[in-house]
């Protein structure tokens, strides 16, 4: 293990024995997860299994109660400065896009770099235009979110997160709120991002995407990591009964 670790890229995210409760209900139980720089992880599982909660702990949208999380060498503790520092390195894309409706696409993208990284307007503008171009939506830069389709909004949300130049991207069911014909444009954007070497954790039921880009697929149920395997093993030879049952329910649709 040590030899292998020395040869592998540095850990980007480490979760050790993470526990979390909502009141008396335990949503995460003893989560151990190591994500190395450049790795792409797909997290799946039935609804309520805690997969969204897990990634929301990484950027402290949810506090956790036991164990520890380390992001890029920084231990996540209850300290505003530390939380801010980690959030600057961790981008997130939400199921409901959560674009700021009163700002144009471009303004959505430049706000955080200017306010939280202290980047100049001109520089933020240039970065935003480059990234909007990358997600193929630069021609909509001056529109408001409500004027765009769901798929376009989600691509803007991806560009907005990338404008902070994060080291990790978290995707929380990014295609679940989209009409079927828009899923592909968002997945294509994510595949492109993966090919460029971004470290990614994606909560998604898009198993085609998992097969194509994931280094590992993680299956969660009832707040526990049940199975963790490379995609070919995960889909070809799932070890656990619950995984088989879940795949049986989800795969025929794809």
């Amino acid at each position: 293990m040590t030899d292998q670790a020395a040869a592998s890229p540095a850990p980007m995210i480490t979760m050790q024995g993470v526990n979390k409760w909502f009141g008396s209900f335990q949503v995460l139980t003893d989560i151990n997860l190591l994500v190395r720089t450049g790795e792409k992880i797909v997290l799946c599982g039935p609804s309520g299994s805690g997969k969204s909660t897990l990634i929301r702990c990484i950027n402290h949208l949810e506090p956790y109660q036991g164990g520890q999380i380390v992001v890029d060498g920084t231990r996540l503790i209850e300290d505003a400065g530390v939380i801010d520092a980690i959030r600057r390195e961790v981008g997130m894309v939400f199921q409901q896009f959560n674009l700021f409706p009163h700002l144009t696409v471009l303004e959505n993208c430049v706000l955080a770099p200017m306010r939280s990284r202290g980047v100049s307007r001109a520089e933020a503008d240039a970065t935003a235009r480059r990234l909007l171009d990358r997600v193929k939506i630069l021609n909509q830069a001056d529109k408001f979110p409500a004027q765009l389709s769901g798929g376009q909004q989600q691509r803007v949300a991806i560009a907005r997160a990338l404008c902070m130049e994060p080291k990790v991207m978290l995707f929380d069911e990014p295609t679940s709120a989209l009409d079927p014909e828009m899923v592909k444009e968002v997945l294509d954007t994510m595949v492109g991002l993966a090919e460029d070497g971004m470290t990614m954790i994606c909560v998604t039921h898009e198993m085609g995407f998992a097969r194509q880009v994931a280094d590992r697929v993680i299956f969660m149920a009832s707040g526990v990591i049940v199975e963790e395997a490379a995609p070919q093993d995960f889909f070809g030879n799932p070890r656990h009964e619950r995984t088989r049952k879940f795949l049986g329910e989800i795969l025929p649709r794809h």
Binding site: L61, N98, F100, H102, S116, A146
Partner: protein, 213 residues
């Protein structure tokens, strides 16, 4: 009613507008602070401001003006009638606007705060750049509605001897003994100020409703 008497009414109207403006602007500034404290997540702040709002919503404006006018004099602060009335209206407006804006801040979807946090925006930027612009939009119809109430409420300032529009009307009416005519004119003047505002508020409300569909 001759020209100079009508002009006297207009002077009263000027003070009515002035008092409304002061109450609204100062009340808005402190009301914003109250709304932020009320949604801060800091329990003592939330409870203190909740108590403040309950106090001012649960007592008549007239009584609030009395308490400020006589209360401040009692503790040795001898203020002009207009200043104590302005303080009274500011306190009153801050409580009501604070409550209106608290509701609006809470009406902004939670995802907006989460997205702002995930982008590592601090509290100040989160509020100024993301939440408040949206909350303000949501609150506009109610805010304008309250402004109309405030303008009409300034007529209560007459009771402590402040010569705004209503008291100017009383004075003229006592001079020319035509109360119906004088107060009819006074009423029309109030109406000409308040009605356009109400129309504007209703229009904003319709536009807001259309935008959210």
């Amino acid at each position: 009613m001759n020209g100079s008497e009508f002009l006297f009414l207009l002077t009263g109207l000027k003070w009515t507008l002035f008092l409304s403006a002061i109450g609204f602007v100062c009340g808005a500034a402190s009301g914003l602070g109250i709304a932020l404290a009320r949604t801060s997540g800091i329990r003592p702040l939330e409870q203190a401001t909740a108590g403040y709002i309950a106090l001012f919503q649960g007592t008549p404006l007239l009584m609030q003006l009395f308490v400020v006018y006589y209360g401040l004099a009692l503790v040795g602060l001898k203020l002009d009638a207009w200043l104590s009335v302005a303080i009274g209206f500011t306190l009153h407006a801050s409580a009501f606007l604070g409550e209106i804006w608290r509701g609006s801040i809470e009406a902004v979807p939670k995802g907006q705060t989460e997205a702002a946090k995930a982008l590592s925006l601090g509290y100040v930027s989160r509020m100024r750049d993301v939440i408040l612009p949206q909350a303000l939009r949501i609150s506009l119809p109610a805010t304008i509605g309250f402004l109309v109430q405030l303008i009409k409420g300034t007529s209560l300032a007459a009771i402590v001897g402040f010569t705004e529009l209503a008291r100017a009307g009383t004075i003229i009416s006592n001079q020319i003994f035509k109360p119906l005519l004088v107060f009819g004119v006074v009423g029309v003047l109030y109406f000409l100020i308040c009605w356009p505002l109400s129309l504007y508020g209703a229009r904003l409300e319709r536009r807001l409703a259309a935008a959210s569909h």
